[in-house]
């Protein structure tokens, strides 16, 4: 079972992101369960959503406390919420930012403890809000982050992410989100290649 936790703020489509991730996995014939952290949602308040993906029926209903993947939709949460709580050492981290992990001051945390380092190809920054502004006209980073997460983790294909976006949205909104997700996918692939060469 692969467990993803998504952190963001009310209004950023955090819950929708988890739902779309589950639809993408469903498209690939897998079992998936997405659910929000059930707060009184308010615009700007910290929001958490969860997604589990497995090859058999998912019965577990507890929140995800030890994620295999972490998507952080808003880097300002780093100072407010213990977003890395329970993250597995070989877990993936994708942050919506145009800055590096080191510039954000989380290089050490994201890299794991001294003796056991998180592999470099398991974390990535992605300017998802910028991509969303460019393609959708609004800084809603969720679809771009899912495209990026597909590239980073290989958990789902970009095609499944696109199918999930089409399931949730239609018309120009869907097109814009698909364009953002596709460019994000390419961006992360490129970043990972550069990491390998560095």
């Amino acid at each position: 079972m692969f467990q993803v936790r998504i952190h963001g703020r009310g209004g950023q489509g955090v819950v929708t992101a988890a739902e779309m991730l589950s639809i993408a996995a469903f498209e690939e014939g897998r079992h998936a369960q997405a659910f929000p952290s059930f707060g009184s949602e308010r615009t700007g308040a910290p929001v958490v959503a969860f997604c589990r993906i497995a090859d058999r029926e998912i019965r577990l209903r507890e929140p995800i406390m030890e994620p295999d993947g972490l998507i952080i939709q808003d880097p300002t949460l780093l100072h407010q919420v213990d977003v890395f709580s329970g993250l597995k050492l070989d877990g993936y981290v994708l942050i919506n930012t145009s800055r590096s992990f080191e510039e954000l001051g989380i290089g050490e945390v994201a890299a794991g403890r001294r003796a056991q380092r998180r592999p470099a190809d398991r974390k990535c920054s992605l300017p998802a809000s910028e991509l969303a502004l460019k393609h959708i006209g609004r800084p809603v980073p969720n679809a771009a982050l899912l495209g990026g997460f597909a590239a980073l983790s290989g958990l789902i294909t970009l095609d499944s992410v696109i199918a999930a976006i089409r399931d949730k949205f239609s018309g120009k909104v869907a097109d814009g989100n698909i364009a953002a997700a596709s460019e994000a996918y390419e961006y992360v692939k490129r970043e990972m290649r550069e990491d390998v060469h560095a």
Binding site: E19, F38, R59, M65
Partner: protein, 417 residues
């Protein structure tokens, strides 16, 4: 057809397939998405022959449901928590009059303190209201139980509550197998009421009944629920024949063969419990599960039968009978009267407190060793409790409890679980 969707959406679609003629509801979290979905389906013409009535309160919702059901219309509503409490007088009337209304309760805690999260306090507070109460474990089961509920309600002329965990199920996206209209039509015949307000054949419904007959009318309400004990398992078989999958029935067991310890629960927490039981079984622990689908009528005989060969049982419930302990546990204990079993009550998950595998492992280990207290509050923060008790000892004007405790805890927005 398999689809990945929200639990509320799945239920709305299943209700629509049952061809309801009147839907009246007042929005309250976490039920809102269900009636919103149905409202959209009525408006865009997908759900034909159905009137969606906006009402000004839950009391009005149930009152309208009573009226429409009495005219022979298949009637549906949904509520939760304070909404259910607000309609209680009409809830009793619906069952007392024998009107086959189907209502979803998206289970949520009851205030004070106000809390929008899940537990079973709302529907268990209505355990004696005369409605049948069925509890869903998954979104598939929630969907299926609604289809069964209409048939059961109309066959018995009795209202049915389908209870599903608020947020945990209503807001969860998971895979469901949505039946076709043909399948639902094959299972659920058009509504043929036992009593109907019809100008061509006038009757009155709702007579005042004095001491001469009140007991008899009430006894018949009880007798009908006893009939439901026979009917529900039969209907589960009919359901399987049409839809090709099993639904709850009265109870269902999991890995109960040769179990020395049985864990009893209702609703979605059964999934987490089953995962824990699998791991404990792998470690050689003889432990099994009994899920209760039908809370009302309570299947005393079936529960006793399922526990016949165990040594001890743990009832884990998301409700609290203040002043005694468990609500479900009390019923289970009645079922096993005289069987000489050791029974434990565990109050868990109140107000949305997460029930984790880790806590369940520790709990069930303790139970199998016979070290559990008769009544346990799972993951209760004793530090918080004791601090408040100490405050009350120290100060006459100790202040409001909830506010004190929130102040003691500090900012909780940073917490993930």
């Amino acid at each position: 057809m398999l689809k990945q969707c929200e639990g509320s959406h799945a239920v709305a679609e299943a209700v629509a397939l049952c061809r309801p003629e009147v839907i009246c509801a007042y929005p309250i979290s976490p039920q809102t998405h269900i009636v919103e979905g149905l409202g959209e389906m009525v408006k865009d013409g997908q759900l034909k022959g159905c009137e969606f009535i906006n009402v000004e309160s839950e009391f009005a919702a149930m009152s309208v449901a009573i009226g429409s059901s009495a005219t022979g219309a298949r009637t549906y509503t949904a509520t939760a928590s304070q909404g259910l409490l607000f309609m209680v007088e009409a809830v009793f009337n619906a069952s007392g009059l024998g009107l086959p209304i189907v209502m979803t309760v998206a289970n949520r805690a009851i205030g004070a303190p106000i809390n929008i999260w899940n537990d079973h306090s709302d529907s268990t507070s209505q355990r004696d209201c005369g409605w049948i109460q069925l509890f869903a474990e998954t979104n598939q089961e929630a969907l299926d139980l609604h289809i069964e509920a209409f048939k059961l309600a109309e066959e018995l002329s009795l209202p049915v509550m389908v209870c599903m965990d608020g947020f945990i199920l209503t807001h969860a996206y998971e895979r469901v197998d949505m039946p076709t209209q043909e399948q639902v039509d094959a299972f659920l015949p058009p509504y043929a009421p036992r009593q109907v307000l019809d100008p061509a054949h006038p009757v009155s419904i709702g007579a005042m009944v004095g001491p001469e007959a009140f007991m008899e009318v009430r006894y018949l309400a009880h007798a009908k629920q006893m009939q439901a004990l026979e009917l529900i398992p039969r209907m589960a078989k009919e359901f399987e024949a049409v839809f090709g999958r099993t639904i709850g029935g009265l109870i269902h067991t999991y890995r109960a063969e040769d179990a020395e310890t049985m864990v009893i629960a209702m609703g979605s927490v059964l999934g987490t419990i089953k995962d824990v039981i699998d791991e404990m079984r792998d470690a050689g622990n003889k432990i099994g599960v009994l899920g209760i689908t039908s809370f009302r009528p309570f299947p005393l005989a079936a529960v006793a039968d399922a526990l016949r060969h165990c040594k001890r049982f743990v009832v884990l419930e998301k409700s609290l009978a203040v002043g005694i302990g468990g609500i479900v546990a009390t019923d289970v204990r009645m079922a096993v009267t005289g069987m000489g079993l050791k029974g434990y009550t565990v109050i868990a998950g109140l107000g949305g407190r997460a029930i984790t595998k880790k806590s369940l492992h520790a709990l069930f280990d303790k139970a199998t060793r016979g070290e559990l207290e008769p009544v346990t509050f799972l993951d209760l923060d004793w530090k918080v409790v004791n601090k408040q008790l100490e405050r009350e000892r120290q100060h006459r004007r100790s202040g409001p409890v909830a506010e004190n405790i929130l102040r003691d805890l500090g900012v909780v927005a940073a917490k993930i679980v």
